[in-house]
Structure formats: C-alpha cells, structure tokens
C-alpha cells in the first residue's frame, strides 16, 4: 500500500540535487555546540556529484561532529544541511528514512551487528527497505561482497574477521542499496599500510563502478592525497581551506602546513623545562 504512494511522492517533488548536476550535499553556515562548547562555527561546504571529498583535520578539529551532523545523528545549533536537495534536519522522519536509503555509511569500527553473520549484516538494509525475496537479497549481498573482495566469508561472524575485513564488510553493507552518497569515517585508521592502501583502492573503485559521491573523514595524509578530488581542512571547528590536492599542498596558511608536515602546535619545551615538569618541581 505504501509503495505506490511513495513513488508518486518522489516524482512530484523531486528535489533539485536529485537529478541535475547541482551539489549532492550543501552545508550552509553550520554551527554546532556540544553542551556549552562550540564545536563547529560557520561551516560552508558543497559536495559535487561524483567527487571524492576528503574532510581532514587533527583530533578535536570537529571532523567527527561534522560527519555526524551530515548523517543527521547530531542536530546543529543553526545552519542547514541539504542532502540531495532536502534539508536533512527539517524534513519529517518518514522523508528522512527515504533519504537515508540513498546514503551509505562505513563507520570507523565497521559497526557490524555482532549477532548477525557477514551476509545477514549486508542483507539487512535490503530486508528492511525492499520487498525482494530472500534469494534475490542473497545474490545482491554476495555481489557486493565480491565488489569488496570478501567472497567466501559470508557465513563468518563479525568477531571472526580481521580489521581490514571488517572495513570491507562495512563498505559492502554501506553500498548494498546503491546509494548516491557514501560516507566513510576514518577508513584506514588502525590498519597496516598495505591493507590501508587496498581500502583506498576500494574507495576509488566504488566511485568508478557506481558513480557515487564519496565523503571521507580521515587524518591520514597519504590516503587523503591519493583518493581526494578535493580536500577540506578543518581546524578548531572552522574550515581553513577547501580545494584540490595541489591547492591544499601549496596553501600558505601556517596551520594547514603544520597539519601537512605533522608539526605540533604545542609549545616546544627545552629539555631542562621538560625534566623539571617530569619531576614536578614547580617554581
């Protein structure tokens, strides 16, 4: 009963970003607080159709908060997030549920459901949002497992997978509904360089094969330079620069360069002062 109604809905008020070349994500003057603390201030951001945008920043720069706000998990204090033309925080729950079927998320730790096998995990979105029969769902889930190079591990439980495999399974689950936008939270964190590089490759392949826009949050420079079309550098809740890899590398902002060259912004202590602090000999 609900199915035809939904289709009609989609056609009558198809938002601009849905079809055209407009931005798939549009963030306008976003401000977010955590309690009293201001985390993001006046963030403006656009993600174009089919591009890989990397959001980079050190710990505490607000990149996770930005991601959570883009996903609709956190409500901003002010400002808007438009995804595929719809205001994520103003639409009804039902509309948001439909919108979310066009978004896939690969979480940092995978966030696979530990009580379900790998295949069941990947089938879950299909099971909840489509009327397909179980065989079709299985085939679709297996196809996605092939895409992420994880065939043959369908029946394992998440606890039996290695870190890299969990990431791959998370990617498979994120793209099982063929989303328009894929979000990845720290895709290469906690992986060895070889596996991390394979994950980068996977992200590029997914974009190539499925034409989706991809937003990656990471602090790994190497990975960011490799996969990004554009990089957005976030620092203390503000965007320092958004631009292509070259533009960011050549940017003369001191803080951007500090981040790129892994220079600490903490005061550098001379050995004597350091020793004094260690021994707690104040004044």
């Amino acid at each position: 009963m609900a199915e035809p109604a939904r289709k009609q809905d989609d056609e009558t008020q198809r938002p601009e970003g849905e079809t055209g070349d407009g931005p798939v994500i549009e963030v306008h003057k976003l401000v977010t607080h955590y309690g009293e603390r201001k985390i993001l201030s006046d963030v403006d951001l656009k993600v174009k159709q089919g591009e890989v945008l990397v959001i980079m920043g050190g710990s505490g720069s607000g990149k996770s908060t930005l991601l959570n706000t883009l996903l609709g998990l956190l409500r901003p204090t002010s400002g808007t997030v438009r995804i595929l033309g719809q205001d994520l925080h103003a639409i009804t729950d039902l509309e948001r549920t439909h919108l979310r079927q066009k978004m896939g998320v690969a979480f940092q730790g995978g966030a696979l459901f530990s009580s379900m096998s790998v295949l069941e995990n990947i089938m879950l979105p299909l099971r909840e949002h489509t009327q397909l029969d179980i065989h079709t769902m299985r085939i679709m889930a297996r196809l996605k497992l092939q895409v992420v190079n994880l065939s043959g591990f369908e029946d394992l439980m998440p606890a039996e997978l290695s870190g890299g495999m969990i990431k791959r399974a998370a990617f498979a689950r994120a793209v099982v509904m063929d989303p328009r936008i894929l979000f990845c939270d720290e895709p290469s964190a906690g992986l060895d360089p070889v596996v991390a590089s394979a994950i980068d490759e996977l992200i590029l392949n997914l974009r190539e094969a499925m034409g989706m826009s991809i937003v990656v949050v990471t602090h790994e420079l190497e990975s960011a330079f490799r996969i990004a079309d554009r990089i957005c550098v976030l620092d203390k809740g503000k965007i320092l620069i958004i631009g292509t890899v070259e533009e960011v590398k050549n940017c003369d902002n001191e803080r951007v360069q500090n981040l790129l060259n892994r220079r600490t912004e903490e005061e550098i202590l001379d050995p004597e002062e350091y020793l004094r602090r260690l021994t707690a000999a104040h004044d």
Partner: protein, 282 residues
C-alpha cells in the same frame, strides 16, 4: 591553587555550612530532575513502541515477528530451567515456614491457605520478576550499551532503521507475553514444590492438597499475580533500554549501567508490587 586555599580558609563556619547545604540541595535537585526525565523517557519509549506496532506495517517498516520470536525464546523458554529450580525451592521454603509458624497454634494442616495465596498473589510474580530482571534486564542494558559504543545504533539510524522499532519493540512485546506466562509456570511449580513438602511432612495426600488449592484459589487471585507480572515485564524492559541507551565511556560504562539497570528494575518491581497490592485490595 594558593588563592583557592586562602579563599577556603576565609570561609567561616556558617559560610561553609551554607555552601555545603547549597551543594546538597543542588545534588538532590539534579537527581530529582534526572529521575523525572527518565520516567518521561520511559513513557515516550512505550508510546514509540506502540506507535511502531500500530503504524509500522503501513510505513512498510513492521516490527519483525522473527525478531520478536527470538527475543521470546531468550526471555521465556531459556529462562525455564532457572525459574523452575527457584520455584521449587521457594515453594518448599514457604511450606517449611508455614508449617513452622502454624505449629504454634497446632494448625499445620491450614498451611495450604497461606501457601496458595502467597504464591499466586506474591511469590510467583515477584520471584519471576526478580529472575527476569537479573537475566534479561541486564542483558538488554548491556546489549544496547555495547551497540551504542560500537556505533551499531548509529548504523541502524543512518540505514533508516528506527532502533526503537528494531530493538526495543521486539524486546517489549516478548517481555509482555513471556513474563506473565513464566509467572503462571512459576505459580504451578511453587505450588507443586510446596505440596510435595506438605505431603511428606504432614502425610497429606497430593490429591487432597490439590483439591484444597482448587477450592481456595479463585481466578482473580491468580490474575492478580499475572497482571502484576505484566507490569514488571514492561518495567524491566524500559529500565534496561534506558540504562543501555545512556551508556557512556566504554566497557566501564556498560558495567555500571548494567548494574544500575538490575538494581533499578528490582526496586521498581518491589515498589510496583506494593502499590498494586494496595490499590487492588481496597
């Protein structure tokens, strides 16, 4: 540091008392506010679950029957061994104490009256409730807490799957069905346990004991306990879910909230028990 020290010293006895009293009032106030907001949260959760049960199908997002069935197995069937064991024990304990106290009046053969009413109205639901709170309430809190920490709840939300429909609703439905059923089972087993001891101790035949029970117990007495246990089931679920959802700070947080959920749900059960008994016996 030094300044603060100085300030503290300048505070006289009266000032210190006022400061302490103020801090105490603040603590009590905060605790009250958070307690009330938790009750509100419970009511909201209950409303949400009812919403998904009624509206889910229309939105093509029904509460899943297999998931509910799986929960019911976990809550009910897998609890049968422990509930049975405890019920036999409590039944015998009641018979022992009953015979001991009635012996004062030389009225040991009246023990059935005490056993029948106390089991059906009190001990059946209470013991079942406490066991379920320890078994299922804690596991619910731990499960939801762990899912929160590992971002599984976030994952559900971004997939467009409402966690209340997906996790809470099946648990709540399973509890409202299984806790009353378990209670009825516990009633039967407790009465049987008591009967076994009574027949041994007083030489009363099992048939006569059963006849006495059937004569004494009216359906309203049994239903008194069953209705109460339904309330317990709802309370245990809501307390477990709220505590699980409030987990913060990793493994230690999960442990703390799991403990809190067990303590709170058992307290809630006992208080509800008293209030329910008070209201229905007037």
């Amino acid at each position: 540091m030094a300044e603060a020290e100085g300030e503290r010293q300048t505070l006289g006895g009266v000032d210190a008392f006022v400061a302490r009293a103020k801090a105490f009032c603040e603590r009590v106030g905060n605790a009250t506010v958070s307690a009330i907001s938790e009750v509100g949260l419970g009511a909201w959760l209950l409303f949400q679950v009812l919403f998904w049960i009624v509206m889910g199908r229309g939105r093509a997002q029904p509460v899943r029957i297999p998931a509910t069935f799986e929960r019911a197995m976990e809550v009910g069937i897998r609890a049968l061994p422990i509930v049975t064991m405890m019920s036999v024990t409590v039944g015998m304990m009641l018979a022992i104490q009953g015979i001991y106290s009635l012996r004062i009046f030389g009225a040991e053969d009246q023990v059935t009256i005490g056993v029948a009413f106390s089991v059906a109205r009190e001990f059946g639901p209470l013991i079942t409730g406490i066991l379920v709170a320890g078994r299922t309430g804690s596991s619910l809190a731990a499960r939801i807490g762990t899912m929160r920490i590992s971002q599984e709840i976030d994952a559900l939300q971004v997939m467009g799957i409402d966690p209340i429909r997906f996790i809470v609703a099946p648990a709540l439905i399973a509890m409202t069905i299984m806790v009353p059923l378990l209670t009825f089972w516990a009633d039967v087993i407790m009465l049987a346990g008591a009967g076994w001891y009574v027949s041994m101790e007083l030489g009363m035949s099992m048939g006569a004991y059963v006849d006495q029970i059937r004569e004494l117990l009216r359906p309203t007495d049994v239903m008194h306990g069953i209705w109460k246990s339904l309330l317990f089931g709802v309370e245990i679920t809501l307390v477990g879910v709220i505590n699980g959802a409030n987990v913060q700070g990793g493994a230690e947080g999960v442990g703390r909230m799991t403990t809190r959920s067990v303590v709170l749900s058992i307290s809630a059960i006992i208080v509800t028990d008293m209030i329910f008994a008070f209201i229905t016996t007037r």
